[in-house]
Amino acid sequence: MTSEEQITVLVNMAFAGTSGSFRPCAFFDDRLDCIRVIAKDCSVMETRISEYITVLEDNYAEESDSTPYVGFTIKGARHFCAENGLSLNAPIQVSALLNAILKSFPDTFVEVFVNGIARPLVKTERIEQVEVSSVSGPLLQPA
């Protein structure tokens, strides 16, 4: 059995009993204090736009002739959301999140990221809400 076949078996075993199918998503990663937006299940390279924003690029986008941008991450989410009046106790609208990013970081790179990458991506993939389940510990209250 090749390593790919062995890993296929292990991945299938690991997913046994779970729903398993990929779906484009946005969620709060409690442990790493960030909001992840993921449009495609693929091998990704993370590129920093700023201290707070990272773009996810498909490592093999050239092979499929598709867009390289498959997601993004907003870091320091607890503080960012509190500062912008967004509560992590309930689902957050992605559009509100992107508006808050533009307001908080008035910068050309950020504007290009939000309007040129993030908005088209979430629109195409119909990612509308940030899921916030399983948040541990106290949350900062929105300002």
Binding site: I7, T8, V11, A14, G20, R23, R31, S43, E51
Partner: protein, 172 residues
């Protein structure tokens, strides 16, 4: 590679080079929340990379960095960012899931040039000693590729701006 073996709060246990001395090894756990997150959203490629690159690959790390320069709060602790460990190296293969969850399979890829693989670890403030395993010094929370630094091979680009310090590097 092997099936995951749960130990205490960890989804699996792996061996990695010690933060104190790269010639020594420590045990790290795979964070259960991290694993569940991948299951919940069907992120099969991340699971394939865990089995193919993380589970038996941590000893390949060439650099270890500490402290990520970005805000990271967990519970009441506002300074978690300072303790995060980042292992980096350049694996010769990458793995990804192709097809649907039900009829897909793992495929091996040659990683694009100029990329390194990083694994983020949260050190445990009070490591627990598990029978037959020993102390688990931290939990693996994430792994992904990053652009490689043009001046320090096997390290993420701008590593000196991303991280507080480099704990060690190994000569290959």
């Amino acid at each position: 590679m092997r099936d995951i073996q749960r130990v205490g709060p960890y989804a699996d246990i792996v061996v990695a080079r010690s933060p104190a001395d790269p010639e020594q090894t420590v045990k790290l756990g795979l964070g259960e929340a991290c694993l569940q997150q991948n299951f919940r959203f069907g992120l099969s490629t991340a699971i394939a990379q865990y089995y193919g690159m993380v589970q038996d690959g941590m000893n390949s790390a060439v650099h270890l960095f500490q402290g990520i320069k970005r805000p990271l709060m967990y519970g009441n602790d506002k300074e978690v960012d300072k303790s995060v460990l980042v292992y980096s190296w350049r694996p010769v293969t990458d793995f990804m899931w192709a097809g649907s969850r039900f009829d897909g399979r793992v495929i091996r890829k040659v990683p694009p040039e100029g990329r390194v693989f990083v694994v983020l670890v949260m050190p445990e403030s009070q490591p627990i000693d598990f029978p037959g395993v020993g102390k688990v010094m931290g939990s693996i929370e994430k792994w992904n590729w990053v652009k490689e630094d043009p001046f320090l091979s096997n390290a993420p680009v701008d590593w000196n701006k991303r991280y507080d310090k480099k704990l060690w590097s190994r000569n290959l």
